[in-house]
Symmetry: D2
Subunit: 307 residues, 4 copies
């Protein structure tokens, strides 16, 4: 045989599970999109079509729903850990599990009690409205011994309407860009951060609190950095996270520079004093980098934040 | 000639304009997507290609940006009114203008002042984060005499985790659905409401306040209705708006029933007590209706809320 | 009651049905996305939540799949006619049915027989590859007496790399566009055409042949028109259809002008002789119009082609 | 400093360039989406915001358009090689360039000459219609010495309506799937293949011919394989490519199993003899693997085919 099989993985992707937890009249909701990828002794299924080692992807789907009942969903990370452990430990041919989860956030609908006989407070206990475009993500990988947890978010759109400059760059024969001393800086943040928790002997982080804190530091660093380049802002966002959160060793960002071009209003006898912008779609600058705790190795793949 | 020209309109669609207003160090932002459609004496441009009556779509784009400077953007509705009036009044061949606007909302980024020399309070005055998936929309139509303003929103995703039933329906030979006495009710609201303001002699509504109030009443009606059908919930949402907002005569909804199916866990020896749901994509129920102030005529087209 | 119910409709949207027909070893495929909207005596379901007149949307879904078996899918139009007739005739409260269908086309995979023991000709009889971006659509409406069939297509992307000009237009104070004597003309065609077949006594058109012929005439008119405006091209496309196809009385188009801007290469010492273009996303011109057979009334709604 | 910078890259993404080449009256078109990512001595731009080593992303955009004129676009691969070489060789701080290109294919519009004074044959020489959903892709990486070219395609949707089985798999406590002895096998192919061409001394492959041949072999292998698992089909597709194309050493696939579920029509008294299917959206099985020429190392990243 002139060809051989390389890395391979399989599983059910995008299992949409919603879990309602009832605390008296107050309901809580977890809304996840769970993707399973399993690897191991799967040569035969590729070479001959023998499925003797193959747990069906349909079974991995069923497991997601059963585990939502059996373990509940405390956090996306904790839920992914339960799943990864199960697949590796329960099936001999499976040597590695990678669980990817998207989480969609919901707010409660605030209401008065004036028009309702069903509720007695300012908040309806079972009514929710989807929060923003932003999606929380996590990836749990387990090989039977070691854990790797990489969490993050995508589609968080932010903008500074001032305190951004761009000048002093290389000019070659194809350069026509004018230097800017006051520009809009806007981006759609895709970020992934890796936890240093890696085995069951270590104390597990508080995943929910960690997420809230990382997000806060990232936003504050974006807002508070007087920016000479989007790269500089990116580095500030990453180092702020690592300096404040000891559970995290590595952060990778993919930051599209969502260009807002100042519109030339002079042909119409108007002066545009940094007021009116055209928000462009494509092309866009794309700035990507990893920020590391000094002394640790990088493990997040270069293109992971695109996923 | 065996064929003739019917209704026609043209203009530049999806002009993305961002307007920053500086109030000292505090910046305000309006972020719009503006689409222009003009009608009038345009037979020749279709029959012979003569452009003598045709204001270029490129000019309509320029006008959007120039007007953002000249008039500012007080509200999407007010901005659309300026544009519609201009096109109809300034160009003799143009008899009717329809302006459609999407508005994207931004929140301020809250921050501490600890790490920053640029800000002195808990809020950065020039830093913003995009709010949710929900998009505010408006459509202004003007024919030189009468105004029609239809505002609304789309992609507002809401869910009740209880207080919804569905039973007592028709059963024919193709019916297999089981009756439900406690189900999740979730939908992605697309709504349009028509203002009764129609000429320049009338006092104009406060567009910003009206939007906030309509949205609040709609959400409260969704949360507070004990639902026997999504149609019933829809009607409550519409009548609540009309009963509370005298400036509005008509509301139309397009409400996909975003099915959350209870997963059968019995094969795994588990009882699913309304806890674990599969959030389905397609197909979905689609419920659409108009709610009217008694005595007025309906004018919002049947399919407008899909737009 | 200060509010009343206006137009309303409901049903199951986006039922994805694939029908395989076996003609010996040769398989045929029909791949549809079917949306049902029913209207009639539905006041109570809105006012009180009584579902006594309400056939569940789930039942309408089941009907789609059952009819695929019972009647087969000869054409999207014929399949929609079966469905519309059934809902109106079988349920007393239902007075009107509107069926919308998208159809996705598939080609056969051509192959040699060299490597295969399964096939004996140049074509595998059961293997298919999805055709392009273009989607065929139809809408059937039935009120118990009269039929209206509007068919069409969307996402058909076409381009002329020359034989397009744009000049002689109105110049106002906001006009900066330069006249063009040789430009790219590109659009993404959305078209809907209405058949004059309206009752069961008339002979039904050959829906499959009609579609193929309309598409051919539309493409030829686009290619063969020396264009002074996109409006002129649109009118040629519409009148060509009506002049060649007696079964069609009305055509409506929504044609985005997909701008291809000539890139200014002079700063780099290069001459751009209509060779290098930037394909822009937004904004885009949007040209919409109806072309009618002389003497008939227009019935396709202004915004239908967006659907 | 407790944090350091890791891998980083930047550039302009999604530059949409359309190149028309005129061969007398016959026009040829190349329609690309080009993304640039540059790496090198970029620490300062991250640490301090100094842009002294930073060629603006705007310049990389200009270079794409200038090179379309200077070199033409013979193939996406050849165009990417020109760009990568330029950035690494012309800018001392830039040590590595990665060019990603999507290519959109166009067909000519066939026409008769009956209605046209502009053309004299069955084909309009300057009129085009966009081909299918399928997108051709390539990635060129250059570090000043070695080249890596990985080409591929995405969104190629294929289906076998028979000759697919799935049985003999592992059954655990969460398994409910029934074995299938005749099912639809459908997938949306995302594939990447790596060329063994790696330095300027080697003879360069014929990129256009190679693509056509790889695509043909891949489709034939899909059609001709009697499938016991999608993994087996994948392996056949990959090994067929490597066995027929000596210029390629490695192929990676990401194949969603686009489930077509047989609809249960028994409640309606109908037998579904593999005729009527529900085409599901989510979840879907996801099968991913690399196929290698025996003896070579794998270099395509595990998740690259998602990009």
């Amino acid at each position: 045989m002139a060809t051989i099989l390389g890395q391979n993985q399989y599983g059910k992707a995008e299992n949409r599970v919603v879990k309602i937890t009832r605390d008296g009249d107050t309901h809580h909701i977890k809304d996840l999109n769970v993707s399973i990828a399993l690897s191991g002794d799967m040569d035969d299924v590729h070479y001959s079509g023998s499925n003797a080692n193959c747990l069906p992807t349909d079974t991995t789907k069923n497991t997601v729903y059963a585990f939502a009942k059996e373990y509940g969903i405390e956090s996306a990370e904790q839920f992914g850990i339960h799943l990864a452990r199960w697949f590796v430990n329960s099936q001999e041919p499976i040597k590695r599990a990678r669980i990817r989860i998207e989480e969609y956030a919901w707010d409660r609908i605030a209401t008065s009690d004036a028009n309702s006989k069903f509720i007695g407070s300012d908040e309806v206990n079972h009514s929710f409205v989807r929060q923003g475009m932003e999606t929380r993500v996590t990836q749990i990988t387990y090989d039977g011994t070691n854990w790797e947890v990489v969490s993050g978010l995508k589609d968080l759109v932010v903008m500074n309407s001032t305190n951004s400059e761009f000048w002093g760059y290389v000019k070659d024969k194809y350069t026509t860009l004018k230097e800017a001393y006051d520009r809009i800086l806007a981006t759609q943040v895709s970020a992934r951060w890796r936890f240093n928790w890696s085995d069951d002997e270590q104390r597990m982080p508080n995943w929910e609190k960690s997420y809230a804190e990382v997000r806060k530091h990232m936003l504050q660093a974006f807002a508070e950095t007087y920016s000479l380049s989007l790269q500089q802002t990116l580095y500030q966002m990453g180092s702020r996270i690592i300096n404040h959160r000891s559970e995290i060793d590595e952060v990778r960002f993919s930051l599209p520079n969502k260009h807002h071009f100042l519109v030339d209003l002079e042909p119409f006898g108007l002066k545009n004093d940094n007021e009116v912008y055209f928000a462009a779609d494509r092309p866009y600058g794309l700035i990507e980098a990893t920020v590391l705790r000094d002394g640790v190795d990088a493990r997040i793949p270069v293109d992971m934040t695109n996923l």
